[in-house]
Subunit: 311 residues, 2 copies
């Protein structure tokens, strides 16, 4: 691999993927992108990215309709699709995975790496958690309005030269990026916020301010957080004692925010209810932990989501 | 009181009230009605009631704008308003309550009698539970499509001559009516169905068929029923062991049905979340019973309901 100009294939060229891979391209990487919905505009003009850290155009080397069309062997294959059970990611990416490819997941949720790790046991798997407010406004146009941080590590644990090289490239692109030894713990920490606020926001059609302003709902959020922490601990990740209060206080102080799950729901798109919430409940069942609040909310989300007629 | 032609004042002339009081008028009662929304059409033409048990017109003796306008002393004052915290029923009816008036509640929920019993400690209070599918289609026009049964008893317990006289009048009107000794137990039994199906239907925008067809949601309904039964038992009403299975099997066999709470919600009207669900949670707290499924669902319903902009 050419450390300064690695070959990267982005699969899932939504807001998160185009933003981060666009930054890597700025830093010198040769990025191609698989895009279904934005193919024409991306091929023609690239992605127009309006960012609090500086606007830019991300023009991929190649825009492809599927990963099978990628003619080279990527050093990194970045998966930035939504994490949905109906998306068979190993099938979607296998056409472009070669022995030297590091697979990089930038996705939400917990236990989302397993399928990919078992489908490609000999490939390095980098798991990344993004903290960013970024939205695809229309085909080829992305708005980045908040944060922009990544934490990443080798799955299930550890570090590597290619991980460090990717980190350096992000730093060169002025993306706040951190290497962590235990990415699963980072995922659990993010789950503490994601689980209650994403799911409650959809069921209550509410932004974060409405949720924390209603004492009954705030109590539900707290109970859900407590259950998430219990499942995390039973799975080897004892989170800090203050994590619940910290998350609640942060949300109370932060301006009203519409969660990504609510935005997806309102736009008739599938919601990441399994990767964010369902996997926690499954992990709780495996360890015989009672999570009645999570179960109740999941059941309602499941009912609501299965009823939607997709466009 | 003239047993064959008692004077009745109906307060809350919605679908349930006009149907049952219309039947009493057919049997000879002199019924007046307080109506806000349907005043003009009701005064002019009465209520047009299309019923599986025979269509009829219910023309009240008088249509009033408030109970203060009732010039007589009613033998029975029938309250058939929705049971909502924002409706101060003692205030609404006090203008027409005289010492000999029996107050008759035909309302949903549990522990809905307390305020009225303490506001009118010297009046007989008849508490009734309706099992009926009846809908107000437009002002002055009501459709009765399912069941049509009443169970009623003196609150908190017992029977009386006036209760029996009312029962006879209903029977004369061919309304299936039953006198029960313990009306609170009937309310708890109805709660076993009402609590899960009403609240889940609103949060999932789903009819009963969708709820029972989704195994995860059916499990939630079962868990909620189990909690309702535990609260009932702690409050002196041990329900039959088979009540949960009976309710679930009945709902699976019955055609798809849209709950009254969902109909109210879809029409932007207030929902009876307190009388149906909130009161159970309060009763659980009083007895130190853990009801995490009920709490979760209530919190979401509370958030959703408080967000609605009423017309």
């Amino acid at each position: 691999m050419n450390k300064d100009n690695p070959k990267i294939l982005l699969v899932g060229a939504g807001a998160v993927g185009t933003y981060f891979c666009g930054r890597l391209a700025q830093a010198g990487a040769k990025v191609s992108a698989v895009s279904r919905s934005d193919y024409d505009v991306a091929k023609d003009a690239g992605y127009d990215i309006k960012s609090i850290d500086g606007d830019f155009i991300f023009k991929p080397e190649n825009v492809l309709r599927s990963s099978d069309e990628y003619a080279d062997k990527p050093d990194y294959l970045v998966v930035a699709m939504k994490s949905l059970p109906e998306l068979n990611i190993p099938e979607i990416i296998k056409g472009a995975v070669s022995p030297e490819t590091s697979i990089v997941l930038i996705q939400n949720g917990i236990y989302i790496e397993k399928d990919i790790a078992s489908a490609f046991p000999d490939n390095e798997l980098i798991s990344a958690v993004a903290f960013i407010g970024v939205t695809r406004i229309r085909p080829g146009f992305v708005e980045h309005k908040g944060a922009g941080r990544l934490e990443m590590g080798i799955y299930p644990k550890g570090k590597s030269d290619k991980l460090r090289a990717l980190n350096e490239l992000f730093e060169k692109a002025k993306v706040n990026c951190e290497i962590v030894d235990d990415i699963e713990e980072i995922r659990w920490r993010k789950e503490v916020w994601n689980v209650p606020f994403n799911s409650i926001s959809v069921l209550g059609r509410a932004d974060t301010k409405m949720i924390v302003s209603n004492p009954v709902t705030l109590e539900l959020a707290r109970n859900m957080m407590t259950e998430v922490c219990a499942v995390a601990e039973a799975n080897g990740h004892k989170l800090s004692d203050s994590i619940i209060d910290d998350n609640i206080n942060y949300t109370i102080e932060y301006p009203a925010y519409k969660t990504s799950m609510l935005v997806d729901f309102e736009n008739g798109r599938p919601i990441e209810k399994e990767s964010i919430l369902g996997h926690v409940i499954k992990a709780a069942e495996d360890k015989n932990i009672s999570v009645p609040h999570l179960e109740s909310v999941y059941a309602l989300l499941n009912l609501l989501d299965n009823k939607i007629v997709r466009p």
